[in-house]
Symmetry: C2
DNA sequence: ATTGGCAGTCACGAAAGGCGAGTGCTAAAG
DNA sequence: CTTTAGCACTCGCCTTTCGTGACTGCCAAT
């Protein structure tokens, strides 16, 4: 049985360790916090916590350090996040206030988040899977080459080049553009792909191969871009916290640059009651991030597109502040993208 | 007077030091290379090199290490770069072979370059300043909101949202689109901006404010995007070579994430006869990169857009191989972008 | 100009010793 | 049963010391 006071002891151990980077001993606890009991009593509680594997001693006679499990219990106890300071709120507004397009907003967001948390920040591009076709544009580049621009209501724009078999005149391209938008405008991406399957059938035998080719390219374009991208900022912060990693941070940086891994990790994280999901230490082992914690929150772009953003850092981080920052930024971003669809 | 043999000694000092990371002494030189002279003679040459400040001794009685100036002389002596190995050439082809759009090509390029050189790789987006207007598209998002898509012949696509004062109908939007493209298509960006200045004058008094607003937004869109972006990959390599930096690599990573600084540095580097420009150590001091070397080469996208790509790493790097890689990738990229305009 | 010899310098690594923070345990008190 | 004070013990860390080895600089001879 773990008493309430024991949990309080765990809390201050995590807090003090995060603040000082040094194993915390019973004596320093009683002199820094008002528990109203003696160091010996704290020692008894600490022995209990050690039995539960919530804390561990690096050396036989040193203070204690939280284990992965200890951080987990600590985080789960953080029921209420204190809101950000007004200075931080202002920073969010100032940073994200006036932005032109989605690329810009997300680029600013990731930098902002990294500055607020002093960790590596990550922002996933909104998934296309739940968004809808806003507009398709075909732009002639030469007589046998066109650029197709594909715009969704989540504000994403994807362009692609295509060499076509036969020559194309502007009139036919206009017709094609009009028919494409009539047929696909407003559809979800899956429906659009379906619609493209039979799209060419409405054209003459003569035109059919050409239109088929273009339709196939569009299908590919839609499908290919469903694989999301990830923005990163604040890699320098990882170096700053280098001492918190037992070995080198090299493998960590490698894993971060391997976006596929992170996207998989993002995919497996779901929101808890605060909207912020936390994955700690060995919980990330399969991603090569066994020594890091990842905090994420979902955010919604318009068009129903959802994605995640968050931060990554050493186990020894300020969970409280960082979770609040992630939550606040996600909320602000959702609000911003909701207000100005696609912007 | 610095004899030819002295320069040869400098060369092997750089080579051995790069290979071993240890100060190189006279004895190890004579036993690893066939100079046909004794260690004492080498020592005399080394004393000469030291007088010229091309090498220095970390401690009174240790081997010698090249200085910034020494690396500079070494690099300038590398008249002919040996071409890449066939395996490397194949890697370039395989990596960049099939790519959809400019974003994709550049993203692959930067990763490729980082893998070839084992350093941080940087690729600058082609500057818009010398490219031309390919197409302007206006997409209605709601009655008072449009998205303008701006396509250049260098393959870049920029989108932007705009709230307009009055309601817009589709017919007028079509007219506007047609007139915009008629007026601006093919113009250089500077000319396009000029043309937009008086563009609204051809419309009725009633339409004038609306068109003015759209034109102004387009001008802003063109201007704003002239500020280039930079792709980076291989930050993990900096960590791997951390020991080559006297202090922490933190400020280096910070400088790298501050794209503005790097773009300024890129701007100041011009090509030498090999097409590869090298900036060594303190030559980069004003950018906070006094302990790094930067190798860059220009490349050309279609539409006359030019930009630079390159790598950044510690002074102690394999200049010969890395310069060859930068040159090869720049050439390949130029070729690829030339073949498939905008792709 | 080149070479062999030799004394001198100095960083680096290993070994030793002292310090001190912190623990676990025990016995007594509330 | 919980809490407290006291105490012996452990062990990482820091500092000091010392020996080793690599390399240089100089000098005299070729």
């Amino acid at each position: 049985m773990v008493s309430q006071r024991s949990l309080d002891v765990l809390r201050v151990i995590v807090q003090d360790y995060v603040a000082s980077r040094e194993p915390v001993g019973s004596k320093s606890i009683v002199e820094r916090h008002s528990f109203g009991v003696s160091a010996a009593t704290i020692r008894n509680d600490m022995a209990l916590l050690e039995e539960e594997e919530l804390i561990a001693a690096p050396h036989t006679s040193s203070g204690r350090v939280p284990t992965d499990k200890g951080y987990r219990v600590f985080v789960d106890q953080l029921a209420d996040l204190r809101p950000l300071t007004s200075a931080q709120r202002q920073a969010i507004g100032a940073f994200l206030g006036a932005s032109a397009d989605l690329d810009d907003v997300l680029a600013r967001t990731v930098r902002l988040l990294s500055q607020l948390t002093h960790q590596v920040a990550l922002v996933q591009y909104p998934s296309l899977s739940t968004s809808h076709v806003r507009h398709i544009e075909l732009v002639p580049l030469s007589t046998t080459r066109i650029m197709s621009v594909f715009i969704t209501d989540s504000g994403r724009v994807e362009q692609r080049m295509l060499d076509v078999a036969g020559p194309l005149d502007e009139a036919f391209l206009s017709e094609l553009r009009a028919r494409l938008n009539a047929a696909l405008g407003g559809l979800g991406l899956a429906e659009a792909v379906e619609g493209l399957g039979s799209f060419a059938d409405q054209f003459s035998r003569e035109r059919h191969p050409l239109v088929s080719q273009i339709a196939a390219s569009l299908v590919e374009q839609i499908g290919a871009n469903r694989q999301d991208r990830l923005l990163m900022a604040g890699a320098a912060n990882l170096v700053r916290t280098e001492e918190d990693f037992t070995g080198s941070i090299f493998p960590v940086l490698e894993a971060i640059e391997e976006q596929v891994t992170l996207l998989r990790l993002f995919g497996e994280m779901s929101a808890d009651q605060n909207g912020v999901s936390v994955s700690i230490g060995r919980e990330n082992a399969e991603f090569g991030l066994g020594e890091t914690s990842v905090l994420t929150s979902g955010y919604a772009a318009s068009g129903g597109a959802v994605a995640r953003l968050g931060v990554l850092g050493p186990l020894r981080m300020d969970y409280s502040n960082n979770m609040a920052a992630v939550r606040a930024v996600a909320r602000y971003l959702t609000q911003l993208l909701g207000e100005h669809p696609g912007a």
